[in-house]
Subunit: 322 residues, 2 copies
């Protein structure tokens, strides 16, 4: 089945998906049932991105949000918020000697893996950096996540990693790639060995998702276009014209929560479409609504933190707690 | 051409320049198009100044705002806000041995230079400190910025650096110096070998800008007086009588954003005057408006953070998003 949403009332369609997968809240539920998310990212250079992703997941309604980052990044990410569980575990090359690498790699991977089965979704990449040793460790963590059937939203430097080692996610239907304009261009070149063709964009994104083996692609842009190789759809709810850094991190955290919820619905027979695609549609729709609301108040001075503040109200507007 | 603005309706003139260079926002634009700013500053002793400068740029509407600071300063500046990208790169003498200096200098410069071409403007100096080794590295970074035609707003300890090595910026028309009262006095003594003459201030600032080789001078004071050696103008919009530290850092970040926007207008043929001067006028006008608004609410207790909070509303009052 293929459907192209241009021509559809995409806003109401996206919103109805969001509504259908957002769980009811009930005092009989216990901690963890609304989702446990982990962000793999944060290094000496970047600390904002993993924070934005992890706190967004929590503010949308996940019960627990973890960050696995380097030892240098951890105190800073912890200082942004006491709400996150921040693990100072990853290592960058400059901090370790060559002869220690095997030992440290085993330790790093062991530390993350003991948590793995508890997570409903990983976000891999926000502020991860490009240190080779760190990326090698993360690629092993991703392979383990895959063995455990944990979905992964891959963004930022995580995309850099998988573009150089496509086998990590090839044929893994629980992987979502969220490229921006330039990352999408590189993906098309690497995988399809051609250039982006805007005239043929629906077919091209579908071909890309199929070529990687039915992963889901969420192409960020004026409209967010989503394909799992079988279907293509676009979310073009009006967001914000501000392009401040960090908005992609909010999106990755948002998609992680919604796809966890969507998988839960699918497991209960309450959802017929691919839950990964549903999660992408809902995640994109909510972030756009929140960005529009933030921009209404903050105008040109809107920064990513302002959008995060609006996630809760935007979700409640669409989907009030009964 | 020379024009002195005393006598002109300078508020409406400054505001009209601000309005003419501020870009329209559009959902078709992508991240980076509204400006990428970098602040070089922040050491063990000073962390507030580079934060104020960088966050001001973001709140006025830049898409990305970086800080290049020492390793000691970075975790603190990061902790002020996850919105900034903070690079722990610079080194101070007390942290390194003499025999390491060449190696470390090469590394520091390499780390900054790989980013250089991405920036629309640098701010050099907020909280930079006066460590000789650090300043040597920064002077090499400034030479590289010049080779790359990246504009530079030079304030605080950056002014101390260039006053001792005028050749770094001499004859570089994309440099702005933003001296306060004392720094201006020292500049006049160093460059013109005379004393400040308030009776002849317009001619004197023009002579100063010319003598350094058509850099732009923004002399901060009761009125901000701006000259590129060809024109002289003053911005005397009523600001705030509070003189709390940090306001100069807000100004340097503000000028950096507006001159980036003005250069974009000039490149498109939409601006006839020197875009560097336009950027100074607009940056000064906005900070004064924001300071007045902050003072209206906070009175004697106004601090620099209160002014930063008012940047967005002040800009939207002048230049509402269409």
């Amino acid at each position: 089945m293929q459907f192209i949403m241009s021509g559809r009332p995409s806003e109401s369609y996206a919103v109805s998906i969001l509504r259908s997968i957002t769980p009811n809240l009930s005092i009989t539920k216990h901690k963890g049932q609304a989702g446990k998310i982990a962000v793999i990212g944060g290094c000496r250079e970047y600390t904002g991105a993993p924070y934005f992703s992890a706190i967004s997941a929590l503010k949308i309604g996940a019960d627990l949000s973890h960050v696995f980052c380097t030892k240098d990044a951890a105190p800073i990410i912890k200082s942004y918020s006491p709400e996150l569980i921040v693990h100072p575990i990853l290592e960058e090359s400059f901090n370790i000697r060559d002869e220690e690498k095997d030992l440290i790699s085993t330790k790093v991977i062991g530390e993350v893996e003991k948590w793995m089965e508890r997570f409903d979704c990983l976000v891999v990449g926000p502020g991860l950096g490009r240190d080779r040793f760190l990326l090698e460790c993360v690629s092993i963590i991703m392979k383990h996540a895959r063995e455990c059937d944990v979905p992964m939203v891959i963004d930022g430097d995580g995309l850099f990693l998988v573009m150089n080692s496509l086998e990590i996610i090839a044929g893994y239907p629980l992987a979502v790639l969220t490229p921006n304009r330039n990352e999408y261009k590189r993906l098309i070149r690497t995988v399809l060995e051609t250039e982006v063709d805007e005239q043929d964009s629906a077919r091209q994104i579908q071909a890309l998702a199929t070529a990687i083996g039915n992963v889901t692609i969420l192409r960020k842009g004026e409209s967010d276009v989503i394909s799992d190789g079988k279907t293509v759809c676009a979310v073009n709810i009006y967001g914000s014209p501000r392009r401040c850094g960090g908005q992609g991190d909010v999106l990755s955290g948002s998609v992680a929560v919604f796809l966890s919820w969507a998988r839960h619905c699918a497991a209960n027979g309450e959802l017929t479409m691919n839950p990964i695609v549903s999660g992408c549609i809902a995640g994109s729709a909510l972030v756009r609504k929140a960005a529009a609301l933030a921009f209404e108040h903050k105008r040109r001075s809107t920064v990513t933190g302002d959008i995060i503040i609006c996630l809760g109200k935007s979700l409640d507007d669409i989907c009030p707690v009964r």
